[in-house]
């Protein structure tokens, strides 16, 4: 029974979109791109995690967070700490004054591993931490803010301030965190060298896999009653409250979920790119994650992924060829996405491409009466 439902869904409009994305990421890119470029696509996809989180908490629930870099960074640093400890085995660090600890700690005259680094010797702990640490911080922030009915602009500014605080803290405490350079020179994951081309290709597929996991979780949440309540809350918070819902707990939930998505993205970034630094934690990267979500059409999970790919590809292109133009382009993009096309790519798609879809073979239209409403709901 379930298998039939799944196949029916695959043939629906929404299912086709997912299949196309999967084809693009799993088949087209790996075949068409050399290892170096594929790795870059993998890097772009890690930002998509944060952007998808924003679709849930901003697009659907109206909670603008200008601090997703916080959670991206926390997830990334957790993974980096594990990898760094592995790379700093006593054999590898024999020439240091204190072997067995990361090089930057040695440079800063530390003689022992700080207590909060110790648990990161364990991979299972690290995996849990990648989800739990961002979620925990998100929980604290969310409870403090939403229980007091702080929202909107004030909330956004405070998340921005917290991103700034964390950045300064990380940079300032270089003995503990690697400072402004971050944690670099990562080599192996449980003995497996992550710097080789084969490893990076494999990690790319892992990233795509994790992306689909988050995509499915996000879609499930949006489709559930909880998703409808979030939408209701965005537009009529009072009415939801007076229908018996504790609005704060829903906001806390979605904010923590978005934080976990971003944390996973950060960890995948560390694995694929080989380092993590405070330049991914602060105000600038956080607001760039927002633009990725906005370009995708803030209500569409798939849009967020495409938005992340396109904007980052543009950034790479411009930075390589016309560096001066990139900031202008990005600035114009911010303004355009707000003034000219607030529904982003998803909106453009709905307006210009969807009408053309009916020209495709009838095969795609079979059994779609129910699915017709889904893209509209998803892209709302």
């Amino acid at each position: 029974m379930k298998a039939n439902l799944f196949i029916e869904w695959l043939k629906s409009r929404e299912g086709i979109y997912y299949v196309l994305l999967a084809l693009l990421l799993v088949v087209v890119f790996p075949l068409a791109l050399e290892s170096f470029r594929l790795n870059m696509v993998g890097k772009y996809l890690t930002y998509a995690f944060a952007a998808m989180g924003l679709v849930l908490c901003w697009g659907r629930s109206g909670i603008l967070s200008l601090g997703q870099g916080i959670f991206f960074g926390l997830g990334g640093y957790c993974m980096a700490m594990f990898l760094k400890l592995e790379a700093s085995s006593p054999e590898n660090t024999a020439i240091q004054s204190t072997p067995g600890i990361p090089d930057f700690m040695d440079w800063n005259q530390l003689t022992a591993l700080p207590w909060f680094w110790e648990p990161f010797h364990s991979f299972s702990f690290t995996l849990i931490a990648v989800l739990a640490v961002p979620a925990l911080l998100a929980f604290i922030i969310a409870v403090a803010m939403f229980k007091r009915r702080v929202g909107g602009v004030y909330f956004a500014i405070i998340t921005q301030a917290i991103a700034a605080i964390l950045t300064i803290l990380i940079i300032g405490q270089q003995g503990f965190t690697g400072g402004v350079n971050g944690i670099t020179d990562l080599r192996t994951l449980m003995g497996w060298d992550i710097r080789t081309d084969e490893a990076k290709t494999l990690l790319y597929f892992v990233c795509v896999g994790m992306l689909f996991v988050c995509l499915i979780v996000g879609a499930w949440v949006m489709r559930s009653k909880l998703g409808r309540i979030l939408l209701a809350m965005r537009d009529q918070e009072d009415r939801v409250r007076f229908s018996g819902y504790d609005v704060a707990s829903f906001k806390i939930f979605v904010f923590c979920l978005a934080a976990m998505f971003a944390g996973v993205g950060g960890a995948m970034f560390t694995l694929q790119v080989g380092f993590m630094s405070p330049s991914f934690v602060g105000i600038v990267p956080s607001i760039e994650m927002v633009i990725l979500c906005a370009v995708g059409g803030r209500n569409s999970l798939l849009g967020a992924i495409y938005g992340a790919l396109i904007v980052n590809a543009a950034k790479t292109f411009f930075s390589e060829s016309f560096p001066e133009l990139w900031l202008y382009g990005l600035g114009v993009l911010f303004i355009a996405v707000v003034l000219a096309f607030p529904d982003g790519l998803a909106g453009l798609y709905r307006r210009y491409v969807m009408p053309l879809e009916s020209k495709l073979p009838a095969m795609l239209r079979r059994g779609n009466a129910e699915a017709q409403t889904l893209p509209v709901e998803e892209a709302k």
Partner: protein
């Protein structure tokens, strides 16, 4: 930490840091006043506020250059000309931006935030292209150099004193404008009840435009003052934007007096701590302090009681 110093020394340290804090206070006040008008009175978030300030700073720099090459004898007075020019230029740009962009976004504060961030990126890149990526400095005129010795241990730099007096004068002028002039009455009318204000013949579009431009103009003057105590680069505006927003929100965005009190508290806290801790820890602690208080009291520490 404190035990290393004698009582007199401690007092002098606090006094000196207090005074250094006052410089910071003046900058915060000028930036925050402009932002408080735009955000507190109009509900508009201007993430490009720092860039308007830098525009004022660059205008001042250019004025100084012109004076130096064309009329070096009058260099002593260049600052006053520069200040007025800075105001005019940033006011004009503010009016243009409001007309092009802001007025379409009044009911969408989060969108304004994003759009003005985009503007700030464009402005930053423009400054980089026009003035170069390196920071430029302005040489102080003779009468502003040096310090006044108040006691044996406490010396107060003249430029800092000048900037502080300037800020207070401007704050006072803004107060007069907002609360004692016909214009201020119109602004407040539009903010509180737009349809009614329009019904009595107030051109709310124009009021909006001038109010926004005024906020930007004050930022420009802040930028002028900024050149007295630091050098200016394309990204200097980013240094203060988060602090400025926190100052405004901490003070209770609706209240200009609250903004000033908040600017004082935050600048003093930061500069005093800077002496005893490293610069970055002082900053972190100050920000944590402000965010912590905002989490407990979201309407701001100095907000007046609001009728529900």
């Amino acid at each position: 930490m404190f035990a290393d110093y004698t009582m007199t020394e401690l007092t002098s340290i606090f006094a000196m840091q207090g005074f250094a804090g006052l410089s910071l206070f003046s900058i915060f006040v000028l930036m925050a006043l402009g932002l408080a008008i735009i955000f507190g009175q109009m509900g508009v978030i201007n993430m490009a506020h720092g860039e308007f300030m830098i525009l004022g700073a660059y205008t001042t720099y250019l004025t100084a250059q012109v004076f130096e090459s064309v009329m070096p004898g009058l260099y002593g007075g260049y600052f006053f000309v520069a200040m007025i020019l800075a105001f005019v230029v940033t006011f004009a740009l503010g009016a243009l931006v409001e007309w092009l962009m802001i007025r379409h976004l009044y009911h969408r504060p989060l969108d304004t935030l994003l759009a003005t961030w985009g503007l700030s990126l464009i402005l930053q890149q423009t400054y980089r292209s026009v003035f170069g990526a390196r920071e430029v400095g302005v040489s102080l005129p003779d009468w502003m150099m040096g310090s006044i010795a108040v006691t044996d241990l406490v010396e107060i730099p003249i430029n800092g004193l000048f900037v502080m007096v300037l800020s207070l004068l401007i704050a006072f002028a803004v107060y007069l404008l907002m609360f004692r002039s016909g214009w201020g009455r119109q602004v407040r009318a539009v903010v509180q009840n737009r349809p009614m204000a329009e019904a009595v013949g107030i051109d709310s579009g124009r009021v909006d435009r001038v109010t926004f431009a005024l906020g930007c103009g004050i930022a420009g003057v802040a930028g002028s003052a900024f050149t007295m105590i630091g050098s200016t680069g394309p990204t200097s505006g980013q240094l203060y934007i988060v602090d400025t927003f926190l100052v405004v929100v901490f003070g209770g965005a609706q209240s200009l007096l609250g903004t000033i009190a908040s600017a004082f508290t935050i600048s003093q806290a930061q500069s005093t701590m800077e002496f005893f801790l490293s610069g970055s820890m002082a900053k972190v602690l100050t920000l944590l302090f402000v965010v912590g208080i905002l989490m407990l009291r979201p309407q701001g520490l100095f907000a007046l009681k609001v009728r529900r």
